[in-house]
Subunit: 309 residues, 2 copies
């Protein structure tokens, strides 16, 4: 019997990370969670460290000497993360942790990137990670500090991986929804307003987005880690849906279509009209297909909020 | 009488940094050197800190509360710096220091970039920082970990500067020569061999490079700091010279043209045939012109090594 491969997991207390633990355990990993306390499982080895303290994180990385790492942690405070100076600290923390992991013998790493790395003025077609056939890759020109910081981390991490022979995949996340989502974000705030019988004002909602259920994103990352894919890969649904349509699904599941106020708010400036991922790499090279249907996922999420209220 | 503006200087003990102190003092700055001990001047306030310790550096940045910063420090160990994992640490250290400087009230920063940020497969024309007239900017696609780490720092620092209203200039350095250069680098090693009467084997030397005397680079950075230029700017001579021609100048100044062995060594793989900077921004927007003539600069450097031997 070969020993279980050890994986260092960061962000294990977060929205996606907390959902990735089960898939990792199911896949046979010995999971070492680095960072804040992980809730509700005694099948994970928790290492409580401040990931922004490079020395502290490096010491644990050396002790664990994991073969693999899944780095999801980043500053994610709602409304602030797009432009917060915390993004600068997370570039450094991520690169320090990567180096410590490699120097302790690490062989395979998956890091969370973002659809915000793409040039949002050039996303009329689905965002493509690498050139394919006659199509060029979508240019990478982030318009936010968050997207820039993630992209810069990708550039350095990739060059370092090539230098030291590390297998690295960079999973770009688009819109994620589901139980546990920050209640100040669009879908939960609309859901909670409607469940409370209040008005739910939104923008016109004509924007097309790529939504993926958090359980699918988490399973996608676990599958990506276990695969041999290297380089950038969109971890997304590949399906475009309008925000209007999503809000309508919520309003129906909440039983209050009368309270949805589409068009009552202006749009956030700088948002692209359409932001959808090309998912051929995830489908064909990782072999991953999402399991949660959007209608069902939204209905379940509304129910979750109903019970959480 | 208005108080002298305070400048935080990093890398003040290094090849360029040690030469930038006088021009900064001449320009009226109160110079606070952060990092290793600075030699030979009691007109600088020295703060001995490990710049890779973000907390330590941040405390000093807060205490000094400088209006301006000139950040030259980076890992520069000869032969190793191109691909060393230390590059990862310097990305984080640079961004942490920048943030601490800004949060302590910093208004203007100049950071050292590199000609290695440019795509070396696309440098047939002089490297251009920004589009000008009908000419597109030279693409930025570094082929080394060093160039990638510097470029990533540029991307994040620029986005952050825009976010917080910081005035930031990014000075891209090309080839620098002169007294104090690392003795293992090409020019000093040829010089020392010839002064010792030994053979000096080199590559064919047909590569065209942009050489600037270290005193000019240092004065250029001081002028750049005092200017209002923002964004990327090449701090270079704008003149292409062949390495062969430089080696011949050295051999003549050393009085041993007979010992120069051009073509005895292979070239370093991946080097571009020609790497010359467009310097219109430095000349026209900063108003800086180099003072040291190449022939004279080489002769002086050879003399310096003769006396240092």
């Amino acid at each position: 019997v070969s020993p279980r491969p050890r994986v260092l997991l960061t962000g294990g207390s977060g929205f996606i990370g907390s959902r990735v633990i089960e898939p990792l355990l199911d896949a046979g990993y010995e999971v070492h969670a680095l960072g804040r306390a992980v809730a509700g499982t005694d099948r994970v080895v928790s290492h409580l460290v401040d990931l922004l303290d490079a020395n502290e994180a490096a010491i644990v990385a050396e002790q664990v000497a994991a073969e693999q790492m899944l780095h999801l942690a980043w500053y994610a405070e709602h409304g602030r993360f797009w432009e917060s100076p915390e993004n600068l600290s997370w570039v450094g923390a991520s690169l320090s942790l990567l180096r410590a992991f490699v120097e302790a013998g690490g062989q395979r790493v998956v890091i969370a990137g973002t659809g915000a790395e793409y040039d949002w003025s050039k996303v009329d077609e689905p965002c493509l990670e690498l050139p394919r056939g006659e199509r060029a890759a979508t240019p990478l020109r982030p318009s936010t500090l968050y997207g820039t910081a993630k992209h810069a981390t990708y550039l350095v991490a990739s060059a370092y991986a090539e230098q030291v022979g590390l297998s690295l995949a960079w999973g770009r996340i688009f819109l994620v929804y589901g139980p546990g989502e920050d209640q100040r974000r669009l879908l939960p705030s609309v859901t909670r307003a409607l469940l409370d019988g209040r008005d739910a004002p939104t923008s016109d909602g004509a924007q097309i987005r790529d939504l993926m259920h958090v359980d699918d994103v988490a399973r996608g990352f676990a599958a990506l880690l276990a695969s041999e894919l290297e380089g950038p890969v969109n971890v997304a649904s590949g399906e475009g849906v309008s925000i209007r349509q999503v809000c309508r699904l919520i309003s129906e599941a909440a039983g209050r279509p009368d309270r949805l106020r589409l068009g009552a708010l202006p749009r956030r400036p700088g948002e692209p009209e359409s932001l959808v991922a090309d998912v051929a790499r995830l489908r064909e090279e990782v072999g991953f297909h999402p399991a949660v249907d959007l209608d069902q996922g939204i209905a379940d999420a509304v129910n979750w909020w109903r019970n959480a209220a």
